[in-house]
């Protein structure tokens, strides 16, 4: 009776049926352990899920409306949406001109915004819906610092046309949030989903009616 072998102290069940055909005990052991593993996963899930954003946090991430009529030409305002800083810049024609400087474009890492860091409706030379208004998530794609707004020419280094400079590790972006090559940040600054609800009011967190279902969850990196 092999089943009684475990009566001897120390001879564990795990040792029986080690060689040869799988025994009834092997089957029961594996089935029992498999059920236990499923049970453990079921118990673990509520604990893991409790750390995900709660209903109140998600509700606080609802779209916000911003009135742009108070933003002066050349000025940047920063608003919070989903606990993140959103940069909104009223770009003057002079500032927009820097985005088309061919010499400067050659220094950019992703000048055509090929990496998914913006909705389709902002994948253009100015990375916005209306070129005048830039809307960005103000978080450096390197390690999450907030880049400084440096619109003045030569304010960061000689030849600087205006853009963003991250004080943490020196990453640089132009005035549409496109990252320069040779800096630690790998990607352009993200553009959040937004749309114009009137001529001067934008709603951050909502795509235009024909703008698809872009969300920040799908981008390469925030």
């Amino acid at each position: 009776m092999a089943d009684l072998a475990h009566g001897k102290p120390g001879a564990g069940a795990a040792l029986s049926g080690g060689h040869g055909a799988a025994s009834r005990r092997d089957f029961l052991t594996i089935a029992g352990n498999a059920i236990a593993a499923v049970g453990a996963a079921c118990v673990a899930w509520p604990f893991i899920d409790s750390m995900n954003p709660s209903a109140d946090v998600l509700a606080a991430g609802a779209p916000v409306d911003i009135d742009l009529s108070h933003v002066q030409p050349g000025q940047q305002i920063v608003v919070l949406w989903r606990s993140r800083p959103i940069f909104i810049v009223n770009r003057t024609p002079d500032l927009l001109k820097t985005l088309q400087d061919t010499k400067d474009i050659s220094l950019l890492s992703d000048p055509d915004s090929d990496v998914l860091q913006q909705p389709g409706y902002a994948k253009n030379w100015n990375r916005s819906i209306q070129p005048q208004y830039l809307v960005l998530v103000g978080i450096c794609t390197h390690l999450g610092c907030i880049p400084s707004f440096m619109p003045q020419a030569n304010s960061v280094s000689p030849g600087w046309l205006g853009g963003y400079f991250c004080p943490c590790h020196g990453s640089r972006y132009d005035l549409s949030g496109r990252v320069y090559s040779g800096v630690p940040a790998p990607y352009n600054l993200p553009v959040p989903p937004y749309r114009f609800v009137s001529k001067t009011v934008i709603r951050i967190g909502e795509n235009p009616p024909d703008g698809g279902d872009f969300s920040l969850d799908s981008i390469e990196q925030i």
Partner: protein, 421 residues
Amino acid sequence: MSGTPSTVRTNNRLVKWIDTRLPIFSFMQDAAMDYPEPRNLNYWWNFGSLAGIMLVIMIVTGIFLAMQYTPHVDHAFNSVERLMRDVNYGWLLRYLHMNGASFFFIVVYIHIFRGYYYGSYKEPRELLWMLGVLILLLMMATAFFGYVLPWGQMSYWGATVITNLFTAIPVIGNPIHTWLLGGFAVDNPTLNRFFSLHYLLPFVIAGVVGLHLIALRQHGSNNPLGIAVKGPQDQIPFHPYYTIKDMFGLGVFLIIYAIFVFELPNALGDPQNYIQANPLQTPSEIVPEWYLLPFYAILRSIPDKLIGVLAMFAAIFILFLLPWLDTSRVRSSYFRPIHKWVFWLLVIDVVALGTVGAHRPEGAYIVVGRIATFYYFLHFIVLLPLIGWFERPLPLPESIAAAVTKKSGVPSASAQPGAAE
């Protein structure tokens, strides 16, 4: 390979490699598989491991709850409501923790009464018992601190009443009271320190549980017969015999626990605690959680503030002296014709105290409370020493093996592992 080769039974070479350098696998094998236990442990011996599992459940759920909780008088109550409504599975974590406290005490009280019935505190296990009483005290403190955190009416007024116990101390009582609260009444500093201590104490309990287990391993488990193990014929390995017995008991226990968590989550709590703390209004009746009621009844039964407080603490501290108050040399009440019945008098007495503690001190409850309080101390201070002297115990069996094989009708010479030398 030089040195001691691994004794772990496995064909897995990685396990062997690790175990030769860091013998964690052979430690687990020795402690949880091969460890010899008396062969006659009954289901009352499940409650030690159940208590350990409850401690783990309380610590794990508590850590996740602390991620959502705000220990501030302006936010604590609302953060608990947010936990119940907005946090994913927050209701589950909280109900597991809330009811877990009750079930932890159920398990531990049964564990204590088991130890009392079978004389598990007697020489040489006195320190094992005393460490257990220390764990009970720490659990009570932890439960009290935890009950304050939701900042409901019972939290606030419970904290007020319990901390006021210290004002009964002559001369230094009032300064101690102020020091404990960090103010002149229960307020934000009190809540902050109670949260800190509520997080700390479970780990202190875990440490004392470690000492409890070291003391247990020194002389092994007691058993229902209360006689010492005389050799391998009296023992069976922990695995698979007691692993499977513990697992089965755990399954039954978890079913009952789950019924409360999912179907009766507030049955053991007080509805007053869903009203936010109001320092200007005392609820019409203040009662502690059920597991503290017997001691609360003793406090209220004595019409003097200082003596009442002393009696309440004495009711717990007297358990430290149990190994010396019980003068009988026979451990198990199975062989003690008088104590066997007196044991049940104590059980009834504690239940009566608990009932009294849950009711307003009026009429019959006052009388019953005083009689039960009197009996509680009479039991330990007078009856227990006397019974030990006068009682004539039944003859003890010669060994565990002899007793269990005779009872089950199996001839002792056949088929019993280790019987034939």
